[in-house]
């Protein structure tokens, strides 16, 4: 199950809408081992394509090093599909390389209603999971 704050879900959807019809992509980092998504990190889609996404290699290097320095890991890796359903494609699955991450796929195929779903992808197997939209139980205070 993915538990994610409303503000973070909204940021993912807003990013997907802003980049439509190109696929949007990014990460939400959280403390290593916590399974708590906390820090929203939209990434450039180096492919700038409506059918493919890829993190820019140097941006990924900087973001991964920064997470490492902060004791974080990628809790959510998200991207959008702009004309198809919010379900991992064959290429999404073949390139999934963070077995601990929640893979969120958003679809912006409908102009009014974004689809937002989350999956675990481990050893080539995709399992959909429940998404629980809930504010963090403990944190620095109201946003």
């Amino acid at each position: 199950m993915l538990t994610i704050a409303p503000r973070l879900r909204a940021k993912i959807v807003a990013h997907a809408r802003a980049d439509h019809p190109d696929e949007a992509c990014g990460v939400i980092a959280g403390p290593a081992g916590s399974d708590r998504p906390e820090r929203f990190i939209p990434m450039l889609n180096a492919e700038r394509s409506p059918t493919f996404y890829r993190f820019d290699s140097m941006e990924q290097f900087r973001v991964w090093r920064e997470m490492d320095e902060r004791g974080e890991e990628p809790v959510v890796i998200y991207h959008s599909h702009t004309a198809t359903e919010a379900y991992p494609s064959r290429t999404d699955v073949s390139y999934a390389s963070e077995p601990g991450a929640h893979y969120v796929v958003v679809s912006t195929r409908d102009p009014d209603e974004a689809e937002f779903r989350s999956f675990r992808i481990v050893d080539g197997t995709t399992t959909e999971e429940e998404v629980r939209i809930a504010a963090e139980a403990a944190g620095p205070g109201p946003e």
Partner: protein, 92 residues
Amino acid sequence: MAIEVRIPTILRTYTGGAKSVEGSGATLGDLLGDLDSRHSGLRERLVDGSGLRRFVNVYLNDEDVRFLGGLETPVKDGDTVTVLPAVAGGRR
């Protein structure tokens, strides 16, 4: 001679769980061959018939080796090589 090689989560099955291993070599290609002698199968996850695999990012210190020399990139004692699988996907 020691070059640190940082290993991403999904490749740690080849290193007994280690996040970082050491190796030696004059070039990145030599280094990967050296690592493979102790961590069998690791090299094949990074290299195919045409060189470094397309969806694996390899960095020498702070630079992507695609812009240096690929497998021919010279490496030296004290360098750090980082491996990060590309994060990518698409409609199909």
